[in-house]
Symmetry: C2
Amino acid sequence: MLEHGGNLRQATLRYGRADWLDLSTGINPEWYPAPAIAGNAWHRLPEPDPALVQAAQAYYGAPLMLPVAGTQAAIQALPCLRLPSRVVVAAPSYAEHAHHWAQHGHKLRQVPYDALDAAISECDVMVVVNPNNPTGATVSREKLLDWAAQLSARGGWLVVDEAFGDTALQASVAGGTPDGLIVLRSVGKFFGLAGLRLGFVAAQPALLDALADLLGPWTVSGPAQQVALAALRDTAWQERMRTQLRTSGQRLQSLLAAHGIRSSGSALFQWWPEAHAEAFHEHMARQGIWVRLFTNAARGIRLGLPPDEAGWQRLEHALTLWTKDKQ
Amino acid sequence: MLEHGGNLRQATLRYGRADWLDLSTGINPEWYPAPAIAGNAWHRLPEPDPALVQAAQAYYGAPLMLPVAGTQAAIQALPCLRLPSRVVVAAPSYAEHAHHWAQHGHKLRQVPYDALDAAISECDVMVVVNPNNPTGATVSREKLLDWAAQLSARGGWLVVDEAFGDTALQASVAGGTPDGLIVLRSVGKFFGLAGLRLGFVAAQPALLDALADLLGPWTVSGPAQQVALAALRDTAWQERMRTQLRTSGQRLQSLLAAHGIRSSGSALFQWWPEAHAEAFHEHMARQGIWVRLFTNAARGIRLGLPPDEAGWQRLEHALTLWTKDKQ
């Protein structure tokens, strides 16, 4: 299985401490306050709630959506829904996409973001994470729709993973999904509800039907549906959070810049190609801060947002020590 | 997608009433009282909790188990873990097994329970639900272990789905899983927690590793892990419930017998090959009782347990009306 952030058990085992400031994910540290769960939500087989789908369609502005057990479920399932194809996955990026497309007989190429345009004519499926995790690279809405049209014309797909798209609404292509365009959205990141295991897929009905068939019944737990329904409908919380996260993201970028680090990313995380990535990871771990070390294509460090002022101070202190060490 | 019990939305749409006595599943109507959920269980990516696996191993008496998002997740995944094989699925039974084995290039045969012994020599994989849903048919522990040994000797599998096995512990083969034996357990039925989406698979480590890889990370939500941990550790509740469910199951069988219906099943449901199955289903629906109608191989009716004394009375009244109609 691939390595991911949020693996605090591993951190605790390796470093013998449990008081981590966990910055290893890009999940909003201020999670949506889950309402009390109706007792029988744990009890009943979780029928799909039409109200949840309606709330998601309103929030994402998408005409048709399928709830799935986290974006991860869709990432794993989509490669099973096509005969062997020529697949381009934008790179470096979230590693689960390439991992699963490679496992189902497809011919996979990983292509840098700035070479995607040239690759369209040579593939049947293209997968783009927008904004990208971890680099923050983006592709314009117009470009994506153009690629989708080109691919669709020959029966291809453009898969756009907008897991981190909630703070840059105008960039989303979920608002209308022509044939061949498949958009993945995550409830976990922006709402800080990664424990729910809930995401949505926007696409044409035939594809959503095939995906639902493959994923089978009762994929999203009853309580997860209840919590998400409240979160997706709470537009006041969403607006406040969008502003707050943009401010926090800029604060993180500025803090890093003040320590000589030029980073990019999204409102929820910053990333940079740290030359001494292992040493930085080790330094932070010894300060009780768990960051995400990337050692493969996207070699570098990703930092999520601290959950509170004490966390910001702790991060600043650790960065200051790191800068001193490097001088 | 196949039809299942618990589909109250469909019942409500078809009959225009919402006050259903839902007897359409085999889920314990008295669910384990879910403890309050720690707020950040919704927030964090749900790392697998070693304590949950330990609690499951203790409860099921199995040396090694993998948590999965409901037995359903394992049912869907197992057919992907073998090259095309000759597969026998015991029939009639829970339809999802045959449905998924048929979808992955395997050569599927459905074989009646009393002909399974003779079929062992002619298959690579056999799937048995024990006790069976909906008929209640059982296969002895000794017989299952013998079949597993025969299949394993030529690289085959015996898959035993013990989703309804919690009230007949001595029949379980989860207690030691030699090569080739794969046992599925469900937290949803006995504990009445179908909304959790949690089950366990017992098997040899190599198979569990392959299954975990296929299912991917974070399959079980954080809150589901917390609720299940409490339920699996609560031996007092489990003992009380085992006695209570055995009594209730016998009461259901006796009630049906008093109305001329000879049924079989488990502590959690009764089933019979009703000659006028559609008419019975319609009669009960008009009384506000939602039962499970089987129109395929297991043609007949399945009834779960009423949740309270009022439910028992309502069922008895409806059965009396049915008997009168038939005279």
